[in-house]
């Protein structure tokens, strides 16, 4: 370990320096185009889930807000993108921005509620708001199509050039590009003074206001940003699969994303991406064997992660790495 840098600016800069492993990681995300051309649909799902997990990481991993209703923003983004393509036009990037704005609006309004609570009440409030939106969407059959799903999305070619094809080539490239751009923003955010104060709030939210960081205002900001990112993830799934079903808002989706994030390692930028990859690849492999017992293995995994790997897979790996370096 290098000695800690002398001044705060140098410290923040040292955090945001690109490491060779990171560059290798992002280059590796291009491999599916050549290695697994038949699995690009799955790769697209992983990219979307990774973006969704990254958005949750901002509030859960960094600010310490346990949310069991994050699918609300995913669903708002998905339905907004769907409605936008049906009633405005099928251009993808404006649809993405519309979805992000709508999800951010929902996030901003609910952040005033969320920032007031801690502990169990907070978990229940996020869960309640998520379920509330789910049953509202179910009742609003005339807008969302209810349990039949939202039909009639048709997308233009991306940038006027690339049609969404059957193999998912365009879909994966598009989602991966959006994931990378949003990831850069999240990386910048986390390695800023704002990101540092979020970690401070996670560790002690009573003491942070005493050093000049208003916990509630910070939570409101990060919650809104996180909601916008989740909305983008939802919009991606709506645009690339061209359907939206009610399960975009479901409790299972909220629970799955928490599992993915914790599996990979919460409070780490790559935790959500690694967790989403492992979760979805494992589900793809196991579902062929025993579909209804999938959740048994999820449960076992959760118990093991909590008991043996408190910081997720990435946390375990970096602990191993640190041990190996000390030798």
């Amino acid at each position: 370990m290098a000695p800690p840098p002398a001044n705060p600016q140098a410290y923040l800069q040292s955090l945001s320096r690109w490491r060779p492993l990171e560059i290798a990681f992002w280059l590796a995300t291009l491999l599916p185009f050549w290695l697994f051309p038949n699995y690009l649909g799955l790769a697209n799902q992983i990219a979307v889930a990774a973006l969704f997990a990254l958005s949750l990481d901002l509030i859960l991993g960094y600010a310490g807000i346990v949310s069991l209703g994050h699918a609300a923003f995913f669903g708002v983004g998905a339905y907004t993108a769907g409605l936008f393509s049906k009633f405005v036009w099928g251009e993808v990037f404006t649809g993405l921005i519309a979805a992000a704005l709508m999800a951010a609006l929902f996030g901003y309004v609910s952040s005033f509620i969320v920032a007031r609570f801690r502990h169990l009440t907070l978990i229940m409030i996020t869960l309640g708001l998520g379920l509330l939106l789910h049953s509202a969407a179910n009742s609003a059959h005339f807008i969302t199509g209810g349990s039949d799903g939202f039909q009639g999305i048709s997308m233009w070619k991306v940038a006027g050039l690339f049609r969404f094809d059957l193999y998912g080539q365009t879909a994966y490239a598009y989602s991966l590009g959006v994931l990378f751009i949003v990831f850069l923003c999240a990386r910048r955010l986390i390695n800023s003074p704002f990101g540092l104060s979020l970690r401070g709030i996670r560790e002690n939210w009573v003491r942070m206001p005493a050093i000049g960081a208003d916990s509630r205002a910070h939570i409101r900001k990060v919650y809104t940003i996180s909601a916008a990112m989740a909305g983008i993830a939802g919009a991606l799934i709506a645009q690339t699969t061209q359907t939206v079903s009610l399960d975009a808002l479901s409790f299972e989706r909220s629970a799955d994303v928490v599992v993915m994030l914790v599996l990979g390692g919460a409070g780490r930028l790559y935790g959500g991406i690694v967790g989403a990859s492992i979760f979805l690849i494992a589900r793809d492999q196991f579902s062929g064997i025993a579909p209804q017992y999938w959740y048994f293995w999820i449960g076992v995994l959760l118990v093991m992660v909590v008991m043996l790997l408190p910081n997720g897979i990435l946390g375990g790996l970096s602990a191993l790495l640190a041990k190996w370096r000390r030798k």
Binding site: L60, I113, H119, M124, N138, F296
Partner: protein
Amino acid sequence: MLPPIFGVLFDGVAYGMLLFVLSVGLSVTLGLMNFVNLAHCAFAMLGGYVTVVLMRDFNWPFFATLPAAFFASAVVSIIVERTLYRRLYRATDLDQVLLTIGLAFISVAVAAWFFTTQQQPITMPGYLRGSIDFFGLNIGLYRLFLVVVGIAVTILLIVTVEHTRFGAQVRAAVDNQRMARGLGINVDRTFAITFALGSGLAGLGGALAIEIVGLDPQFALHYLVYVLIIVSVGGLGSILGSFAAACLIGISDIAGKYYVPELGAFLIYLVMVAVLMWRPAGLFGKR
């Protein structure tokens, strides 16, 4: 003749009593240890399956299976508490949520393995079937039985907590755990006993619930939401709070389904969010 609203109210209260028996254990243990146990309804489901197996394969009468459901859930909960839960009392909310929801997932899959995903119907004894006529209202005998059980459990719990030595220890530990330890109360033991009793009550609730809501492996997750709503609306560690919240949620749910069926479960979520906005610690909560 009474107007039909009384029928809705009665069904709501009966449903509320069921939810109360299911949730009161979680409320007390949460108040005691701040331990978020999302596997609570898995213990309830266990009680339900014990009743099903005993009635169907061993021909036990319904009433004899109820204590068995209680004890089975209590014993299993003690084993889980001693082996897994006690290590996480000082862990973060997130770790507790993850461990216990993981156990709930496992219980769902295990139940599906042994009993398939089908509903498990049981035949009630004749004296609990049918209904009686009360000033023009049709009152289901089983629902009447639920109300009686709910009130009996409430009285029993309140007497235990208010008028016994053990109850005084529980109250002291809920109010101020460190002070209680300082006075020589063995809080860990108190907690283990309370936890077993609460899980046992959940098992009893699971057995009672079969006739009303059915029993399938999704029970552990589906009713968890109801139980958590009641616990947080009622306030942690408060028996009367759970009772009031269970009645409120039961009546809202039944009335919502009766008068505005298109809203579905919207109403109870709305009630919960509204109550928590008004009183973040719940109706009777102290913290």
